[in-house]
Symmetry: C2
Subunit: 448 residues, 2 copies
């Protein structure tokens, strides 16, 4: 596979090498990241030469090393525009805010290395008889997002980059950020309503937006009406780092995998980051602890213990076969092609005259976690769940998995609204389309 | 500006040249498209050396010549997956549908060359012990979308491309398409509720989806529940070409600009298209007719005639100054950087003791059209509207323009949900943030 297959990027790295050139794969930083990812895969008990995993290290390196130069982007797209002056009171002058709203971005959390999603609103007040091409506001935001960040730093970086690139009267950025909130292996089995996302809103301003009391902010928020944002619910600069990343609230301690921590540290260094920076000190440890949730071996053992439990409550007086369902079981998993989370809901249909008992319902959720908490692809996961529940539920099984894939958002194609549904069927569902259709109608509409 | 500034693509053209390479700009097809775009700009009465327009021909060429090879994309991403067989009745086998939903795409209408937006749902049933990387379904759809298309042909192309790339048991595609429905210059002034979008839903299937009665379609639509799609509302294969593109319902006849039509024909030929294909025969004529709506000269004259009309109804007994507003005026315009439409709503605030009269309201809408129907940037448009209405409405003016830019969707950054708001202020609004805030609260939430 050529370098182009993985993404349609062709970007200039800071050292001038183009991603997409064959040279990229030989760069020492690329090789260092690939080597480190191999250590992590081995630490998870995986075979790095298995076909699904063979290119995973290169995919990770490509995604992480995306960089571009702000000045090159902005300088080529400053257009002269008469009537745009520094003075107030002129149409298009100060007060003449230009705001691009609802730009979808993603970034990488510097505390745990997981991607987080961003709804970005970026605006500026032109000056010096120049406006900048609208798409460039989004491009500059994107450059800073594709680094290890925390939300406030990201907002500050975008703001600073645009301020120095465009030299406007003022520039302002508001980011609505959502960080995936994975349960750890233990709590996944205990909490049925685990919160999926950690959210905060941050802002940053320079020039006429530097002061939070500036009337320009009133205009900015006025144009963001109906988005549930105001000066009041913007996180203050000092409080946000501590509470934002869910991994920060987990208990501190060694991961027990020093080799994997060393490998992650090598990745972070290959990105040009200083591991002594206080925000990064515990990052390799936190990432490895999170990753080890997906180690395969220990789960299979637990699963064997459940396989003989009675799942159903026999003895309804009116014994009659129906299509029955357990819907909205939580799913957390890790895409083996990209080492990125996918998460969503699992729905299980079966044909039986008996109701499932409460222990049975909890067992089905456990089975989903058993198959979810490892390196997976959604197609295999769906099949494995069907095959595991089949002997417990009578052999007529339909499993539907609906999931959001972080790799569909943060790698290459960046299709933010997309999600994936898969079906596996066994027994009578295989040959009865109306039974399948009836079960599909039992599934609530998908939203996370 | 280097080739990289315009887009983060690096894609291989069908002749093997990479977009993003310096060589691209010297390709004869690129030069032919650039020359043709210059003829169009001159036909619109524009100076092709004006800074805002200087790179427009190259931008158009880059966007139109995007191409990539399906086989290269898919072949590198077929992963072995045990349990995926041709036979029915196996989990992950036939019935084991994999469906990626809600992929945002855009394509170009072969009848009029304008971009249309697509919500794409693409699925397949794996076979031969192989699954394809999920992102590849989206990538293949994207390749065929970035050509001159009609919706049914696009669905058929994606389906055929995946069928031959993956060799699955079956493959199916459903596309929900929206085509911008520009009013022509005359009707813009007459119709206040012009329909903004022309919509259709199309589908295509091969293998086990080839027959419309196939039970596999039941599964497919079952997984698209709550999206208002069913077999019944999918347009039949023969009816769709005639009624889909709004330009097809306009009257046939010469555009009066043979040089511009020849230039557009050259663009279509440079894309490797056969102009004798019946769908393309009238395309240059339709595009030129549409484009000439934006010729600048004739509009300025009309505007002068209105400038002295009385706008307001004097004589309220309780004469008191208020912030008053005219909101949701329709906007249609053409981005001069990309030759692509932008469209949305204009809101005008003013401070006065008098109500505006019905003729005045209609005049404001006309002023918006006067400034909209030409090559524009949103910032300038906002300022021009403010300056034009200022003498008519007493000098205290705030104009807010909210617009969707086709170039933000179909060029480079592809930020589908984004939209842009601009403000221009004159008179007392310049120094009174609370007046601005009050007017902003009068504007309904933006949705098109």
């Amino acid at each position: 596979m050529g370098a182009l297959d993985e993404g349609h990027y062709c970007v200039v790295l800071e050292n001038g090498v183009k991603l997409g050139d064959d040279g990229f794969e030989q760069e020492p930083e690329t090789v260092a990241i690939e080597d480190a990812v191999k250590v992590l895969l081995q630490g998870l008990g995986e075979d790095v030469n298995r076909e699904g995993l063979r290119k995973t290290p290169l995919r990770v390196a490509k995604a992480l090393r995306y960089k571009q130069n702000v000045r090159d982007i902005v300088q080529g797209a400053l257009f002269p525009e008469v009537g745009v002056e520094n003075g107030t009171g002129h149409a298009g002058g100060a007060g003449g805010l230009v705001l691009v709203r609802d730009i979808d971005l993603f970034s990488y959390c510097e505390s745990c290395l997981l991607p987080f999603q961003v709804k970005c609103h970026v605006g500026y007040i032109p000056s010096g008889q120049r406006v900048v091409g609208l798409s460039k506001l989004s491009r500059v935001a994107d450059i800073f997002a594709k680094r290890l960040q925390d939300p406030q730093q990201l907002a500050d970086d975008i703001c600073f980059g645009l301020h120095h690139g465009i030299n406007p009267t003022g520039v302002a950025v508001v980011l609505q950020c959502s960080h995936i909130h994975f349960p750890n292996l233990q709590s996944a089995f205990l909490e049925s309503n685990h919160k999926r996302l950690s959210k905060i809103t941050v802002g940053s301003g320079l020039g006429t937006f530097e002061n939070h009391d500036s009337p320009n902010w009133l205009d900015f928020f006025g144009l963001l009406r109906c988005r549930d944002i105001s000066l009041d619910n913007i996180r203050s600069r000092n409080s946000c780092k501590d509470s934002w990343c869910p991994s920060r609230s987990q208990k501190v301690g060694p991961s027990g995998n020093p080799d994997m921590e060393t490998a992650v540290a090598a990745i972070v260094r290959s990105l040009g980051q200083d591991l002594c920076r206080k925000e990064l000190v515990g990052t390799p440890n936190r990432f490895v602890k999170w990753l080890m949730n997906f180690k395969d071996a220990k789960l299979e053992m637990k699963l064997n213990g459940f396989a003989t439990m009675p799942l159903k409550t026999v003895g309804l007086t009116n014994y009659k076969e129906h299509i029955r369902s357990e819907v909205n079981l939580s799913l957390w998993s890790l895409c083996e092609h990209h080492l990125l989370p996918f998460y969503g809901l699992v729905h299980i249909g079966y044909i039986s005259g008996e109701e499932i008992n409460p222990v049975g319902k909890s067992l089905l959720q456990s089975i989903v976690h058993f198959h979810g908490f490892k390196l997976q692809v959604q197609e295999r996961l769906t099949r494995q769940i069907a095959e595991t529940v089949s002997p417990l539920l009578g052999g007529d099984i339909m499993v539907v998995v609906e999931a959001n894939h972080t790799c569909m958002i943060s790698r290459g194609i960046e299709k933010f609204g997309s999600n994936t549904a898969t079906i596996a069927v066994l027994g009578r569902f295989s040959n009865d389309p109306l039974a399948r259709s009836k079960f599909l109608q039992m599934i609530p509409s998908y939203s996370l």
